[in-house]
Amino acid sequence: MNDLIDQQSALEAVGPAFAREVMLKVRGMTRNTIHAIASRVRPGMVEEDAVEMARDILAEQDMVRGWHDIYVRFGTNTLKTFGAASDPGIVLKETDIFLIDIGPVWGEWEGDGGDTFTVGDNPDMARCARDARTLFHTVRHKWEQDKSSGKVLYDFAAAEARALGWELNLDLSGHRLSDFPHAAIYDGPMMDVDFTPSPLLWVLEIHIRHPTAGYGAFYEDMLLDDSYFPDLAG
């Protein structure tokens, strides 16, 4: 038991600039920026141009620096795992799916967020994007209610994804967030921790893939209780 407490203390340490209010402020900036990027993505756009556009939008928000690269992925590239290079030259079709994953640094503080969007009228793609978001909240609710460990949360997430007809990519299985750089404290996955992750210090990631069709969806946000998700109300 003491070992677990020691492990949690070590892995949940923060740096000297850590400030709860600012972490939440950067979270809000990150989510707003994701939606600003998405609102300017259009069918016919080449993925590389969308990434450059995202870079410019982040720069306008004083978030040039990132703790990871900027990902805007179109169509089949939504299957790619974190860090993998996209297939080049993918153009967003009239009916298609795309995801955004950004990890900006504002001042001394890290943000991280991801979401998936669709264009056109493919109901299965729309369900994929919706299910990534739903699964995020289903897993988050389990964390909130059962005080589950990171390992239990991702075992649960994989089973829930299967039940919905998707495959969960466990290469993207949560991580720390803090004042920059969290990697100096703990660079590993949340899935590996045997304690209940504390709020505000971790990011919950959900990347699901269609088992046969060439697309997937991604959603991630800070691990926080319901009160931080006003869109869920009603």
Partner: protein, 134 residues
């Protein structure tokens, strides 16, 4: 100089923090970051060499000023927002080594955060909040 085991490649010697006598061995075609990592220099690379985090920043010695290809728009923009930016700075992940860079002299210069005015304001806000809401 030619690589004895692989003559088709060149081995470069780069000078890190003035340690000219040992230098860092590097291969043509790899990035400076890759060479520094292999040499165990402890260079930081939070984003994995993707020109995102700026932690692999180096300062090129004056005799090398203007001898490297100009930074890309993205590298220049990132360098410009890092604390303590100077024209001598480059990102090791963005420098691809070739014969022209043999002998490159530089020092590691990982940015130390000195908050921007906006960030400093946020920090003050957070401190005040903590004082009023212990």
């Amino acid at each position: 100089m030619p690589d004895a085991e692989n003559p088709s490649r060149l081995v470069l010697t780069i000078t890190l923090d003035g340690a000219a006598e040992d230098g860092v061995k590097a291969l043509c075609g790899e990035t400076l970051l890759e060479a520094l990592r292999r040499a165990g220099t402890g260079v930081r690379h939070v984003c994995g060499g993707r020109c995102a985090c700026g932690t692999c920043r180096i300062a090129v010695e004056p005799e090398w000023a203007g001898r490297l290809p100009a930074p890309s728009r993205n590298e220049a923009r990132l360098l410009g927002v890092l604390p303590g930016a100077t024209p001598a700075h480059r990102l090791a992940c963005q420098i691809t080594l070739d014969e022209q860079t043999d002998g490159l002299a530089f020092r590691l210069d990982t940015p130390v955060s000195r908050p921007s005015a906006a960030a400093q304001s946020a920090r003050t806000m957070a401190t005040r909040s903590m004082e009023t809401n212990p």
